[in-house]
Amino acid sequence: MPARDSISTAIRDRRETGQPALIAYITAGFPKKEGFIQQLNAVGAVADVVEVGVPFTDPMADGTTIQRSSRAALEQGVSLRWILQELTRAEVKPRAPLLLMSYLNPLLAYGIDKLPEDAARAGIAGFIVPDLPFEESHELRNALDARGLALVQFVTPVTPVERMQMLTEGSGGFIYAVTMTGTTGKNVAVPEEVLEYFARVKKISPVPVCAGFGIRSREQVQRLAPFIDGAIVGSALVEVLERGDDPAQFLRSLRE
């Protein structure tokens, strides 16, 4: 099975138990560089898929929490090279598939020619690149495809239907359905029209639909549950780690 299929399989397996899958985001090396692999395992023991965030100086799609965690990670010298080395060296890794979430520039600096091979060796199954729209993504998509790695696309509440069709068909692993227009981390109410939007995405998407941006509580997850295959938790989890609380316990609380 190519690595990219492990993502959709993990999400569908969880969905079959009647629960949406949980996709957990952490900023690599936050709050401390030393605990990265240990933290990844703690999160991966509960989550069905883990997104490993590559810090970037200019995270334009992110709210204050991930801006803060990115800055703290960069100050400790976290880089894509370091993340891939740590993952390659790690003796114990989660069984949950791993995705790298990165803005485009750190990937370009690493080199699109070397990246897929090094990422595959590190156990990465796919990529999420929030500032790379579909039209600009061919070079990276083809390079990842050659190594069996996924490139996840986004849809949003303002995406026109024809475009939504193209993006869901072009997405690997799952489709990242943004709950709202805005940056990550704001608490979202889930009004009726948002549910309608998710129903629309669900209807046309050939890949699992996962909701992200502003997911913080079990209530939100439950309300979205009939319309989605998975929920993505980022800023709320980063805040748990920032406070030094137990990430596994927080993730379980979203599911129970």
Binding site: F56, T57, D58, P59, M60, A61, G63, T64, Q67, L74, S79, L80, R81, Y103, L104, N105, P106, L107, L108, A109, Y110, G111, P130, D131, L132, P133, E135, E136, Q153, F154, V155, T156, V158, T159, P160, R163, L167, V178, T181, G182, T183
Partner: protein
């Protein structure tokens, strides 16, 4: 990462530039440009593109735009023969006086054009970023003129060093939001403006002030700023009967420079020189000269030359001028540099300040510190190449720089 072009690739790019073929339909200037933004903004940029295609060449829109430029901005701005500088530098120095445009800099050309466009597109509010404060003031003024609510994002470091402009924006009715994230200067202000826009892509119009960002912004800004070069070209032909040997402008993101250069690109005998902020040295973090010291990469929506480390992290920059203090450059400048159509050099803080003082004393004109980089570069060229006719974009006036000048040039005087 370096884009090294083969001879034949370079020839093809040169031919395309000669035919004014850029940006192409993908928003590219050769290899540079493009549209690297979150999916949420794609429909907004698609709508903006439709608006650009519909209005920027539309005679009615242009009539309205040029009416505002003439009767409200005060265009055409004069072309001043700098008698004393010409004598001192052994050249014929002509100054295109964008400092005399309403609100004191070229930025108003772009702001009034974009806010007009925002109205046509049915936007409910306008947001803008600002570094030196000139684009913020211009956008606030244009919004007041056209009855649009305006919010300006400004780095907290810049709010301090360009304090007079903060008060002006507030008087003009704008809400000024201090940006304390990132480097607290222009780049952080652009990030914050983008985050605002992502939150309301349907109702908000983002009035970007420089020739940077995702397509079609570099094109919009060039089209609206080209009035500078078009006027100057006519004026210098009228006054001297000849084109200049050299056209000079300062380059941060590059809006006044692209506006000055673009109308001269096809004039093969006219050389062009762009001056970047050389700051206090050539090392990372000591300057803001993205063409001189940068490498290709993607920042804030476009692929261009950037000041970044080997991990693709954007570097903090230094320049005495807030308006040039940006770690990237417009994609069209990256192209013009790659085919050697424009030469780009760095001018350091001290030389820029010295040129500012020289221009004040010689011509009775206080130029902005940004524009003083162009003066210093022109002086360097003139001293090495005697007897040339040099046209300089004096992009803005220096009143806003008084807090910085008090701490530097005037430190020992007062």
């Amino acid at each position: 990462m370096k884009h090294s072009l083969s001879k034949s690739e370079q020839q093809a790019l040169i031919a395309n530039v000669q035919q004014d073929a850029y940006p192409d339909e993908r928003g590219r200037f050769g290899p540079f440009g493009g549209r690297y933004i979150p999916e949420t903004l794609v429909p907004a940029l698609d709508r903006l593109q439709v608006g650009v295609d519909r209005y920027l060449r539309d005679p009615d829109f242009l009539r309205e735009f040029h009416d505002e430029l003439h009767n409200w901005v005060g265009r055409a701005t004069p072309l001043t023969f700098a008698r004393t500088l010409s004598e001192k530098w052994g050249a014929e120095i002509w100054l295109k006086r964008e400092d005399l445009a309403h609100t004191g800099a070229h930025k108003i050309n772009n702001s009034i054009g974009q806010v007009l466009l925002a109205k046509k597109l049915g936007a409910k509010r306008v947001i803008a970023e600002t570094g030196a404060g000139q684009h913020g003031v211009a956008s606030a003024a244009a919004c007041a003129r056209l009855g649009m609510p305006c919010t300006v994002y400004m780095g907290s470091v810049d709010m301090e060093r360009q304090a007079p402009n903060v008060g002006r924006m507030k008087l003009l009715g704008a809400t000024v939001v201090p940006v304390t994230s990132g480097d607290k200067t222009l780049r952080a202000a652009v990030d914050e403006a983008l985050r605002d826009w992502v939150s309301d892509p349907n109702g908000t119009y983002y009035c970007l002030g420089s020739a940077i960002g995702p397509h079609p912004y570099p094109y919009i800004v060039r089209e609206l700023q080209s009035v500078i070069g078009r006027e100057a070209r006519v004026q210098i032909l009228e006054r001297t009967g000849k084109l200049p040997d050299l056209v000079v402008a300062c380059v941060g993101g590059g809006s006044n420079a692209i506006g000055m250069f673009h109308p001269f690109v096809k004039d093969k005998d006219v050389q062009m020189l762009g001056l970047e902020a050389g700051g206090i040295g050539t090392g990372l973090g000591q300057n803001a000269a993205s063409i001189a010291y940068g490498t290709p990469g993607v920042l804030q929506g476009c692929f261009s030359l950037l000041l970044q480390d080997e991990n693709g992290q954007i570097q903090e920059t230094h320049s005495v001028s807030a308006g040039l203090d940006y770690p990237g450059v417009g994609p069209e400048h990256a192209l013009l540099a790659s085919i050697d159509r424009v030469k780009y050099e760095a001018v350091n803080d001290d030389d820029a300040l010295a040129a500012l003082a020289e221009c004040c004393a010689a011509e009775g004109i206080l130029p902005a510190i940004e524009s003083s980089h162009a003066l210093a570069g022109a002086k360097r060229y003139a001293l090495a190449n005697p007897g040339k006719r040099i046209l300089i974009a004096l992009s803005g006036r220096g009143d806003k720089d008084m807090p910085t000048l008090q701490r530097t040039l005037l430190k020992d005087v007062l």
